[in-house]
């Protein structure tokens, strides 16, 4: 089968198998992306009749001059930088620990995985209670250490931090499962050889496990970065439909949503979407470039 010659017929068969998914992707992904790009250049446009009276760069000029867009971009970057490293490292540590224990391992894996299978809305609502400044669990816990109650969700200084904590917690389950899958794929002989060579636990972890786990670490990082840039649901529920106190949790997708659904600024929303797309593309390309040097595929 492997050496079978590629013919027109075999190519057609392959395309036939691919076509259902391809057609759906073209209609529901590719076409909307092209339309969004086009929409971002429509400066005078009736969204409902599809009548374009003027095109240009005004939508981009508007967003780059808009302080809210600047704020949304900075907040998104803070969010990604705040969430991704901790989420990845913490998930890796927990996965390494879970991989080593036998007792209650399945039970603990289920516990960690629960947030992933629970809806974001439910999670955010629970965290809304945890963060409540008067009745919340977190302030009650901090009270044992004589820490004054923090107005997590209504103080602009704490809102982003609160959002980051919740997102890290929520992302742990899925990342742990991926890391565990990565760990189980590492051939145990590498570890044994290092052991025979006299490497201690830390050295085996540092020079064997972590490098061999790097493809999975890379995948999780890319995935987390992209999810981070697209954060929306958590903010919407946690702050009751607002982008946090004083817009302190206004992110790019929230900006886009608001422009589209509540302000009917379709061109502006599309332009924000294009900028977000370019940012994610650039960051992902940088990650791929970096991975070529530092990710080890066996």
């Amino acid at each position: 089968m492997k050496n079978k010659k590629i013919t027109l017929k075999s190519t057609l068969v392959a395309y036939m198998y691919l076509s259902p998914m391809l057609i759906f992707t073209l209609i529901f992904n590719f076409y909307p992306i092209i339309k969004s790009f086009a929409l971002s250049f429509y400066t005078k446009y009736n969204f409902y009749t599809d009548q374009v009276s003027a095109i240009g760069l005004d939508n981009f000029k508007y967003i780059f001059a808009d302080p809210d867009f600047k704020k949304a971009t900075i907040n998104t970057l803070i969010f990604v930088v705040g969430v991704v490293p901790i989420a990845v490292i913490l998930a890796m540590i927990l996965a390494l620990l879970l991989y080593r224990i036998k007792f209650l391992a399945s039970f603990l894996k289920t516990i960690y995985f629960l947030p992933f299978v629970t809806s974001t809305v439910a999670i955010s609502l629970v965290w809304q209670w945890i963060y409540n400044d008067q009745y919340g669990l977190l302030n009650s816990f901090l009270g044992y250490f004589n820490i004054k109650p923090i107005n997590w969700l209504n103080d602009p200084h704490w809102a982003m931090f609160a959002l980051i904590i919740m997102t890290i917690w929520k992302s742990l389950g899925f990342n742990i499962i991926l890391f565990l899958a990565g760990l189980s794929n590492i051939d145990k002989r590498y570890d044994r050889v290092a052991q025979i060579d006299g490497a201690n636990t830390w050295q085996r972890l540092r020079f064997v496990t972590i490098p061999l786990l790097s493809p999975m670490t890379f995948l999780i990082t890319v995935n987390s970065v992209i999810s981070g840039f697209k954060v929306f649901d958590e903010i919407y529920i946690l702050f009751g439909g607002n982008p946090g106190p004083g817009s302190s949790a206004l992110t790019l997708v929230f900006y886009l949503y608001r422009a589209f659904y509540t302000e009917s600024q379709y061109g502006i929303a599309a332009a924000a979407g294009v900028v977000l797309f370019l940012i994610i593309l650039a960051v992902t390309l940088i990650q791929f470039w970096y991975s070529k040097k530092h990710v080890h595929y066996v």
């Binding site: 057609i23 073209l26 009736n46 008067q134 209504n154 607002n242 106190p245 302190s248």
Partner: protein, 428 residues
């Protein structure tokens, strides 16, 4: 050649699917004819669920059985946010229903985007002048964009003040009738760790009420922006000073102050009359609470109208429009308005419904509902203008900034004035 064949196959497949989708979508459109004596379907999208939807369904059922020409079919879109998104998508794809619920402040935007039909002939011919004059003026004014009518009032609520009588009794206080009295009582309650005035995430509605009382319209129909009028700044300062002084507090991310009110965190709470049922549900049985009108400002009482109207969407045929008119007239009949108000807690939209024995009996057994009815003569609708939703989002952000980042009322409202002027000029 090979490549070309593959591309042709893909193109043909896409075209075929496209054709199927197109034919399917055309086929699914409702045909506006009374073919074979079938009643004309009047589709109505709502943003309500539970008892609210059930009550409206009962009214639709009784309308459907009262005649054979039309059949009202309700579809709940579960909430107003989803409803708005569905309307937007349906307008884009040309699949709008015949009727729908819409906030009255959206009317100008809906009209501007060509979503809705004017229903002047409904008010001129279908509704008698007596029925029209029976509607509360504040509700009627909300149905207009310029001089044209675009909706009928339907699920309406007003701002009322919830009062914790236990706190009043304990500290020997009376119900404040002015904002000055409210601030004064706040000083007494502050020392006991109780706020005088609790409000929802924003005090924007109260501010708008104060402005109306002071004779200011934040944004007029002609586009005059007065959100930063000295009187408007002064009104915002009254509440901000109370917040700063710890005699008033926002619900913040809780959105509604209800939870805090029933837990005795404040003596008074100004909220929507639509929140009566949830407050009743959440309040402990032994809590002694009542409702009254919002305090007066500069010697006048004014309370803002909130809620949804019913509109007729563009694309409805003449027959469907006639059916929609027939149903709207049915809903505005005093006994139906009364039923709807009793079932849902919304205020009746016509005066004869309020005076009816059935509604008076309801008020007798539900004394907390009286405050909203008493506030009706002093109620007002906001002026709807093109770009209102954008303005409203920015106003929300402005009030949030005043409360959370402690921007002064003057700075925040001056910024809002500039933003509003920009919105109005962009939409001209």
């Amino acid at each position: 050649m090979k490549k070309k064949s593959v591309i042709s196959i893909i193109v043909v497949a896409i075209l075929a699917i496209g054709a199927v989708v197109y034919v399917g979508s055309n086929h699914s459109k409702t045909t506006p004819v009374t073919a074979s004596g079938q009643p004309i379907k009047i589709t109505l999208w709502t943003g309500i669920t539970g008892n609210y939807q059930k009550s409206l369904q009962n009214l639709a059922n009784s309308f459907n059985s009262s005649q054979k020409k039309y059949q009202v079919v309700l579809t709940s879109q579960t909430n107003y946010q989803t409803l708005n998104q569905k309307i937007l998508a349906a307008a884009k794809s040309g699949t709008l229903p015949v009727m729908g619920m819409a906030t009255y402040t959206s009317l100008a935007d809906y009209k501007h985007n060509g979503f809705i039909q004017n229903i002047n002939d409904f008010y001129k011919t279908t509704l008698s002048s007596n029925q029209k004059n029976d509607l509360y003026p504040s509700f009627l004014s909300g149905t207009k964009v310029g001089s044209d009518f675009y909706s009928i009032p339907f699920s309406k609520s007003l701002r009322i003040m919830y009062v914790n009588n236990d706190i009043l009794k304990k500290y020997n206080l009376t119900v404040p009738t002015t904002w000055e009295e409210m601030a004064k009582e706040g000083q007494i309650l502050k020392s006991h760790g109780i706020y005088a005035y609790g409000f929802d995430a924003s005090f924007q509605s109260e501010w708008e009420g104060m402005l109306h009382a002071a004779g200011i319209n934040p944004v007029s129909a002609s586009g005059q922006v007065d959100v930063n009028n000295p009187k408007a700044i002064e009104a915002a300062k009254v509440i901000l000073d109370m917040v700063k002084d710890h005699t008033a507090k926002s619900a913040g991310s809780d959105i509604f102050w209800t939870k805090n009110f029933v837990n005795g965190k404040s003596a008074f709470y100004i909220g929507s009359s639509a929140g009566l049922s949830i407050t009743t549900m959440q309040a402990p049985k032994n809590l002694n609470w009542s409702t009254t009108q919002v305090p007066s400002y500069q010697g006048s009482n004014a309370t803002e109208v909130a809620g949804n109207d019913l509109v007729v969407f563009k694309g409805a045929t003449l027959e469907q429009k006639a059916g929609a008119y027939s149903f709207m007239k049915y809903l505005l009949e005093p006994q139906n308005t009364t039923t709807w108000a009793k079932d849902t807690g919304y205020v009746p939209v016509d005066q004869s419904a309020v005076k009816s024995d059935a509604y008076q009996a309801y008020l007798h057994t539900n004394p907390r509902a009286v405050a909203a009815v008493n506030a009706l003569p002093n109620s007002f609708s906001q002026t709807s203008f093109v770009g209102f939703n954008q303005y409203y989002t920015m106003a929300g952000q402005t009030f949030n900034n005043m409360l959370t980042t402690h921007v002064s009322a003057e700075t925040a409202l001056n910024k809002l004035a500039n933003q509003t002027k920009q919105i109005i000029s962009n939409n001209k």
